[in-house]
Structures are given as structure tokens and as C-alpha cells.
């Protein structure tokens, strides 16, 4: 029974994607997903593995996401430098950054042996070997390391087991997202002599005098938290995976690596919470008319042939939940922004809140101008908006009376006039202000 449901979901998702190759989730897209967990459109398209970037281009809303070749080169050069010679340079850094007691660390780095395992070793790339096999090997290594140490613990008094550090390069992890299995590839895992695994992420943004670009650090922390969560769920023993991850970045203006320990407990909590909130894809699919597809219908040369109109209609079947944040995380943002024109949410969550949570700009202005009778739940917001409108108009005219500006600003009366001209009191709440733009 369970299996039949899963098959049905898989089939439906395959049909949604059509003939195009599947786009897989990664830590970055999961992090993005949790930035807008309420969006059904994105949840379904990601589950189906639809190439959102291509889709956006096909409907005329190409996303502005691209990476500069210079950034890619720099990233690769730095990663190669850090991982050269089986991560030789990294070992001391890791010991320094993860040991609370610096002296013990120095001692350890010399006395404990280090095992380096490359699970994605050249030739046996993820596709050649298949993800299942690599996943199995990752899990096997982690479990046997955990077991070895548990054994050592029980007879700790008699003779100490060799205290060793294990470095795992190119491991593969699995995480269920919205009822779908997603494979993840962290840069490195390190299992310390105390038996705890730490996620290690290599990033090429610089840390200057101990400070780095806050946004980039935040993104890296969420991404690493995704790995920690996946590891914990795979192993079933949260304590075996530390909430302290290690970011390895270039120091100051050089190429010298610097390891920084980052506590991702807060990100883990948020992720856990958001992943639980993700509606399972099946529920969303059930609400979808059976004929809907995002099959780009590639021609012989791979170019999509499905008309933009059909794709747009299909998109309309999936409810979106646009917020300005989408612009930095989702390939469909330009399309969704267009749809959201005239909505207060498109101006940002805090603006919407200041406007009393009223849905559309047209409603806001009508309530503020007294041109619309508020519903019971809008009464408080409407009263606040009316005061705001009065204060704004009085402030503007008082300011102009005090110091007449050289460039004329619209007087409140003109503003009111142009407002009512651009959108007479709408008949329905969904009337969008942007309608005036085309008219």
C-alpha cells in the first residue's frame, strides 16, 4: 500500500518533469527551500526535479543567477590547495580549531594516526558508481568508526585504543525533504579521536581580521547545518555528529586557509522546524489537475519547444508565495514578482506588517483614504492607516510650506487625484494596482 502511493507520487512527478533530465536538490536548494517553506510552487517543482532556470528562461523571465568564471576559478584553486596531499594542511588547522585545550591538541596531532578516505575517488564518480553505493560506503565508515570507539570506551581502563582521526572526502548523505529522498555531498567530514563527526565546508570568501561577509557566513552555516541534520538522521544518534561545523576560508587577503568553528544549533532548530512544515508533495500533487506538465518538450538539439503560454498556464496552477527574499534564492522570482505586483507582500514582510497586514496596495490606500469600509478584522488596521495618511499629508504640506523645494514635489491633493485616477475603488479585493500600469 505504502509502496503504491510512493510509486504513484514518483510517476506523477516524472510526468511533471517530462523528458528533461532531473535536477537534484542540494544543500543550497534545501537552504533556499526553508527560506520560503510555504511556497507550494517551489516545493512541487523541486520535488519533480524541474529545471527552474530553464523554465524561467522559456517563459521570458530569465533568472539573474550566474557565477563569474573568476569566482569559480578562485573557489577551485582554494579548494585544491586545502585538500592537496590528503588535506595535510588542514589537519593542524582542524586540531587547533576543534580542540578546546590547545596543548592536548598539539600532543594529539602528532601521536594519533590519521586515516584519509576518499569515497568519491577518481574514476568512481557519483554517476559511475551510483549514489546508492557511495551512500552505503559513507554510512558503513561512519558506523564502524562509531562502533570502534564505543568498543574502546568499554575497556578504556585497560589499554587505550589508537586514538585516530578519520578524514572522509566526498561522502554522500541522504535526507528526506517533503517526502522525497535527497542526496547531499559535503566537502569533507572529520571524525575526531573523541568519536564525534564534524562537517567541514571549504568556502572561498575571505575572513579579514576575523570578520567575513555576514550574508555569506550565514548561507554557509545553513548549508552545513543541512549536512549535520542529514548525518544525524542517517545515523540515528544525534550525539555522534557535532553541532560545531568548521568553515575553511582564505585568511585576510591571502590564499592561506583559516579554519573557524561555527555553532549551527540555531540553524539546526530552524531547519528541523521548516522541514517538518513542508507539506508533503503528495498533498500538493493531489490538488493539481492531471494534465498539468512542465515538460519543456526538448527538440532533437535539446532546445525546449513547449510554448511559453502553456508553461505559464501550468505555473498558474501552483500557488506561489512571493516575498522579496525570493529574488536571491529562487530562479522563478522574476515571474512570481510580476504576479505579486500590487500586493503588499511584494514590498517586504515588514512593510506589509506596517500596513496592517492588508493584502493589496489598492485596499491599503482605499482604507487609508476612507474610500472603503473596513471589515471587522480590518478595523484596527484601517484606523491606523487613516492616521498615517493624515500625518503623511500634513507632514508633506508643512514641510513644503517651511522650505519650498526647488524641484516641485507632488502636493497631497495631486497625489490623491492621481491615486483615484489610476485605480478607481476596486470591485474586488484582488484588483491589482499594477493594472494601471498597462492601461
Amino acid at each position: 500500500m505504502q509502496n503504491r502511493t510512493e510509486d504513484r507520487t514518483e510517476q506523477r512527478l516524472d510526468r511533471l518533469r517530462g523528458r528533461a533530465p532531473r535536477r537534484r536538490h542540494d544543500a543550497r536548494t534545501i537552504a533556499a527551500l526553508t527560506r520560503n517553506p510555504g511556497c507550494a510552487r517551489r516545493a512541487v517543482l523541486d520535488a519533480a526535479g524541474v529545471d527552474k532556470e530553464l523554465l524561467a528562461r522559456q517563459i521570458g523571465f530569465a533568472a539573474p543567477f550566474g557565477q563569474s568564471p573568476f569566482a569559480i576559478v578562485r573557489g577551485n584553486v582554494f579548494e585544491a590547495r586545502v585538500t592537496a596531499d590528503e588535506c595535510a594542511a588542514l589537519l593542524t588547522l582542524l586540531a587547533e580549531c576543534l580542540d578546546t585545550d590547545a596543548e592536548a591538541g598539539a600532543d594529539e596531532a602528532t601521536s594519533s594516526d590519521v586515516i584519509y578516505l576518499d569515497l568519491g575517488a577518481s574514476g568512481a564518480g557519483p554517476d559511475a558508481e551510483g549514489p546508492a553505493r557511495r551512500l552505503e560506503r559513507t554510512e558503513a565508515v561512519l558506523r564502524s568508526e562509531a562502533a570502534a570507539r564505543a568498543g574502546a570506551g568499554s575497556r578504556a581502563e585497560t589499554r587505550a585504543e589508537p586514538r585516530r582521526t578519520v578524514l572522509l572526502a566526498h561522502p554522500l548523505l541522504r535526507l528526506a525533504v517533503g517526502g522525497q529522498d535527497v542526496y547531499l555531498e559535503p566537502d569533507l567530514l572529520v571524525i575526531r579521536p573523541d568519536g564525534r563527526a564534524h562537517v567541514v565546508e571549504i568556502k572561498s570568501f575571505a575572513v579579514v581580521d576575523g570578520q567575513a561577509d555576514g550574508e555569506k557566513v550565514a548561507a554557509a552555516a545553513v548549508q552545513a547545518a543541512v549536512y549535520v541534520l542529514a548525518l544525524r538522521r542517517m545515523l540515528g544518534t544525534p550525539a555522534a555528529v557535532s553541532h560545531d561545523v568548521v568553515l575553511v576560508c582564505p585568511k585576510d587577503f591571502s590564499n592561506v586557509p583559516l579554519a573557524t568553528r561555527v555553532d549551527v544549533r540555531r540553524q539546526l532548530l530552524a531547519l528541523d522546524h521548516q522541514l517538518a512544515r513542508l507539506t508533503t508533495v503528495q498533498t500538493l500533487l493531489d490538488a493539481l489537475p492531471p494534465e498539468v506538465t512542465f515538460d519543456l518538450a526538448p527538440a532533437a538539439d535539446g532546445a525546449p519547444t513547449r510554448p511559453a503560454g502553456e508553461l505559464t498556464d501550468a505555473l498558474d496552477q501552483l500557488p506561489a508565495r512571493y516575498a522579496p527574499d525570493c529574488l536571491s534564492v529562487c530562479e522563478l522570482a522574476f515571474r512570481c514578482r510580476q504576479e505579486a505586483a500590487g500586493r503588499t507582500a511584494a514590498l517586504g514582510a515588514s512593510v506589509r506588517e506596517e500596513l496592517g497586514g492588508i493584502d493589496t496596495v489598492a485596499e491599503v490606500l482605499d482604507l487609508a483614504g476612507g474610500a472603503r469600509t473596513p471589515t471587522e478584522s480590518q478595523a484596527e488596521a484601517a484606523a491606523h492607516l487613516m492616521i498615517t495618511a493624515r500625518m503623511y499629508a500634513e507632514g508633506l504640506s508643512a514641510g513644503q510650506a517651511l522650505a519650498p523645494p526647488l524641484a516641485p514635489l507632488p502636493a497631497p491633493a495631486q497625489l490623491q487625484a492621481s491615486l483615484s485616477a489610476s485605480h478607481p475603488v476596486p470591485a474586488s479585493a484582488s484588483a491589482s494596482v499594477s493594472g494601471g500600469e498597462h492601461g
Partner: protein, 506 residues
């Protein structure tokens, strides 16, 4: 976001152009600002790629780093920038006025960048140049570390609210107008200006969309458009590298090739910089169209004093600023920023009724008309001996939703020197708003009777606010020498070490 600015955004959506959120200009604008539009190479830690600089719209100088990964070329760029910028910056130091506290320059340099990322570029570029040594193995031109120290000064002043020594244009525009898009989208200078000053026939939203297309309008930097990097910049830099290699093999024949490759890069980077350069100057013109706020000159005086102070420091000592502040310095600095913020917020509200409008919405300010005045009221001063002080009472009728309570200190924007205290708040029997009774406590001259004109008359309209500059009091800070040992003991004054100067930069 505030209620007023959010409402203004809603208005902008409906009208199709940005709505004003200020009626006066809240920053000083120099007659000769030094505009710097920097570009960096993607992926690198603050590697300059090019810059357009100058003090007039039609006098731009283009600086280009042909191979941004080359350390020597980077410092050559720093030297070029220093040669243009330092004479300008130092040129304001000669003309001073004598104050009791010492000399103060009559004017000061002003550095303008397109956006906050430009400020961050300056901060990091300053950090990467101020410790450089002018002798030894990694010697740089003598100008370079001096430039680094001055840029550090500007970047530090940029953190102080109300200072106009270094300004980012997008911040400046955002202070005076609200667009019909989100704050996130406002970070794009071209899109922001698209709303504030749309080209004829276009509504703000359409102008902003056009401006977001990197092919139509290159980003304001310092990061370049990845498409530009791939299609144009990468081949041009590669061509330069090839030309340099050829010249190394055959100097006689190769130098023309290098010159050609550099010219190609210059032309290419000019296409990316010129549009932003023009936008910056257009924005400055727009801002110039607003009359300055009443308190702007006073804040600029502080900036001038800081400039003179730093100039003196550079002449007398001139050591580079520390990499990081010590605990006490950092705490002092935060405190200074908080105080400056409170003073700046109050200044703006008193200068500008549209800024005050926000305080009226939240009930921290109210506008009204004087309905009664007890001008010659005198009461015992409370210190015995039967002395009397002049304490006029004013009654103001307001319709505003006030949240202030009896005992609150308020000041009227048109009478900033007179502090009043709310004595009573009554609902008039005939209805219609509130009656606020205020006791005037200062600003009436020295004689027993208030000097003429120092007390408001019946019928006068006033706006009173509790947003006072002294809202944040300075927390007592230990003297530097008394730094508690928990904070690392008395900090050493910063001296650059060998390590600082030898630091790799590649």
C-alpha cells in the same frame, strides 16, 4: 520600516513614482565631492579591477588593473588613486578658523560611493594598504599607506550616523524617497533612480525592471555582472596575459601588443563604469534640489573638526589604525554611534515635518494649536527663600493620538530651545481631541518676565515632540589606563609589527 515609509511605498506603487519621505535634505553635499566608483574582480578578496574617480561629472578619470591577481599592479593602482585623491583630501586642511578648542578647517573633503558595498570596498581596501611598508622586500610607493590611513578614516566616519564625510548614494536616496518596491530591490542604484526619476513616458516599476537588466544597465558594483565576466572580461584579461608573455619573449615587438590589450580592457571597463558614474552624479543633482535641513551645517561642522583632527594626527604621528579595536575602544565606539544616532534622529525630526510625522503616528509627538496662555505665571523655585521662577503655562489642543504622559519633557520644532513639561492631559467637555497643558521651563531670557516672543501666543500652531537628542546617555567608560584585567588589561597603543607589513596579498 516605519508606518510612514511603508505608506509612502504604497503611494509609490499607486502613482508609479517614488513618494517623498523627507522635505529637506538631511546630509551635507559638497560643492566638489570626490566620487569613487570601484569595481573588483569576482571571487577575490577585495582585488580592485577598475575605478572611475573625480570631483566633477565631466572630469572622470579611469583607473584599470589589467591583471587584478598581480600584486604589483594592485599597488600601482593604489598609488594612482593616491596621486589623484590625496591632493584633494589634503587640500582642505590649509584654510582654518581658530576656535577655543583649536583650529577647524573651513571645509572638508567628501567621499561619495554608489552603495554600501562601495563603503565596504573602501574599508577593506584601506585595510589592505594602510600597513604596507615603503621599504624592504615588499616596498610600495610612499603614497600607498597614507592613502590607506585616510580611507580608513573615511570608512570609520561612514559608520557614524549623521556624518557626511563619506556617503553611499543609495542610502542617501533611500533617506529621502520611498519607492514602490522592496528595500532589497532598492539596493540597485539604477532601479532606485528609476523610481525616483523615471525616464519620460515610463512608470517607476518599468524603469526599475529595465535598470535591473545587466545588459541594459551594468551593476553599480563593486561586483561586476557574471555575464560580462564570462563573455567580455575573461577573454580581455587572457589577451592581456598573452600579450605580456609575448612581450617577455620579445620586448621590442611585444610592447605594442601589451598597450593594445590594456586599451581594450580600458574601453571595456569604461562601458561598465560610465553608466554608474552618470547615475551617481544625477542622484547628487536631485539631492541638491532639496533645501538643506536646519541642522545640517552644525553636523558638517563636527565633520570638519574630525577632519582637522585626523589631519593633525597624520602630521604628528600618522601610525596606521589598529586591525581591530580593543574591548574598551570598541565599547566606546558603539556608545558614540548610539549617541550620534539619537542626536541625528532628533535633528531630522525637528528639521522636517515629514520625518516628525512618524513620531506623530506613534504618539511620541503631537501637533496642535495654542488655545490658552498664562504668560506671566511665577512659582516658587523649590529651593526655599521664597524665590520665584517664571513658568508660563500653555494649553494646546490636538487631534493626534498621543502616547505621552504627564511629566514627559517635550520640545516644539519651531522653538527648540524651550523645554516644556506636560502638566495635564484633559478631554475637553465639548469634545474634539485633547487639551494638553504644558509648563515652559527654559528659553525665556533672564528677566522675571519672559522676553518678547519667547512664549507662544494663542492661535499659534506648534508640533511638540519627546524625541530629544539626549535620549541616550553616555555610559561611564573606564579610562584606557584603567581597563579591567577581565578585558585584557590596559591595551597597548597600536604599533604595526613586522607581520603586518609582510602580510601576503596574493
Amino acid at each position: 520600516m516605519t508606518a510612514i515609509s511603508s505608506y509612502a511605498r504604497a503611494l509609490a506603487v499607486a502613482t508609479g513614482t517614488a513618494a517623498p519621505t523627507a522635505t529637506v535634505r538631511h546630509a551635507h553635499l559638497s560643492a566638489r565631492p570626490f566620487v569613487l566608483v570601484p569595481l573588483t574582480l569576482a571571487g577575490e578578496a577585495n582585488a580592485p579591477l577598475a575605478a572611475m574617480v573625480g570631483t566633477a561629472w565631466d572630469e572622470a578619470t579611469l583607473l584599470v588593473v589589467a591583471q587584478p591577481r598581480n600584486r604589483d599592479l594592485r599597488f600601482a593602482f593604489a598609488d594612482q588613486l593616491a596621486q589623484i585623491m590625496l591632493p584633494h583630501v589634503l587640500g582642505f586642511a590649509a584654510a582654518t578658523e581658530e576656535l577655543t578648542s583649536g583650529p577647524r578647517s573651513l571645509d572638508a573633503p567628501q567621499l561619495i560611493v554608489p552603495n554600501p558595498a562601495g563603503v565596504e570596498f573602501v574599508r577593506l581596501f584601506a585595510r589592505s594598504t594602510r600597513f604596507r611598508s615603503t621599504e624592504g622586500e615588499y616596498a610600495v610607493a610612499p603614497n600607498v599607506p597614507v592613502l590607506g590611513r585616510w580611507l580608513t578614516f573615511f570608512a570609520e566616519r561612514a559608520e557614524i550616523p549623521g556624518s557626511s564625510l563619506m556617503l553611499a548614494v543609495t542610502d542617501l536616496l533611500g533617506l529621502h524617497w520611498a519607492t514602490g518596491q522592496s528595500a532589497l530591490e532598492d539596493a540597485n542604484l539604477a532601479a532606485l533612480l528609476g523610481w525616483i526619476d523615471p525616464p519620460p513616458g515610463l512608470r517607476g516599476a518599468a524603469a526599475a525592471r529595465l535598470a535591473e537588466d545587466p545588459r541594459h544597465c551594468p551593476p553599480a558594483g563593486p561586483t561586476t555582472d557574471p555575464g560580462f565576466d564570462t563573455e567580455q572580461l575573461a577573454p580581455a584579461i587572457a589577451a592581456y596575459d598573452t600579450a605580456v608573455a609575448a612581450a617577455a619573449a620579445d620586448p621590442a615587438a611585444g610592447s605594442a601588443g601589451v598597450a593594445r590589450a590594456v586599451t581594450r580592457l580600458e574601453n571595456l571597463l569604461r562601458t561598465q563604469l560610465q553608466p554608474t558614474w552618470d547615475l551617481v552624479w544625477r542622484a547628487l543633482d536631485l539631492l541638491d534640489g532639496l533645501p538643506p535641513g536646519a541642522s545640517v551645517p552644525a553636523r558638517w561642522e563636527t565633520d570638519r573638526a574630525r577632519y582637522t583632527g585626523f589631519h593633525t594626527y597624520m602630521v604628528e604621528e600618522g601610525l596606521p589604525q589598529a586591525r581591530r579595536d580593543g574591548a574598551v575602544t570598541a565599547a566606546r565606539r558603539l556608545n558614540r554611534i548610539e549617541q550620534a544616532q539619537a542626536a541625528y534622529d532628533a535633528d531630522r525630526a525637528f528639521d522636517d515635518p515629514l520625518v516628525m510625522a512618524q513620531h506623530r503616528v506613534t504618539g511620541e509627538a503631537f501637533s496642535g494649536t495654542v488655545v490658552a496662555v498664562e504668560r506671566d505665571r511665577r512659582i516658587p523655585n523649590g529651593r526655599g527663600k521664597g524665590r520665584l521662577v517664571t513658568r508660563p503655562l500653555l494649553t494646546v489642543r490636538t487631534e493626534d493620538p498621543i502616547r505621552l504622559t504627564v511629566g514627559a519633557k517635550v520640545v516644539a520644532s519651531s522653538r527648540r530651545r524651550q523645554e516644556c513639561v506636560i502638566e495635564a492631559i484633559d478631554i475637553p467637555p465639548e469634545g474634539g481631541g485633547l487639551l494638553i497643558t504644558l509648563e515652559a521651563r527654559s528659553g525665556m531670557g533672564r528677566s522675571a518676565v519672559p522676553a518678547p516672543g519667547t512664549v507662544a501666543e494663542v492661535g499659534e500652531s506648534l508640533c511638540y515632540s519627546a524625541v530629544l537628542a539626549d535620549g541616550v546617555r553616555s555610559a561611564p567608560m573606564p579610562d584606557t589606563a584603567d581597563t579591567p584585567w577581565t578585558h585584557g588589561g590596559p591595551p597597548e597603543p597600536y604599533e604595526p609589527t613586522e607581520k603586518d607589513t609582510a602580510e601576503a596579498w596574493e
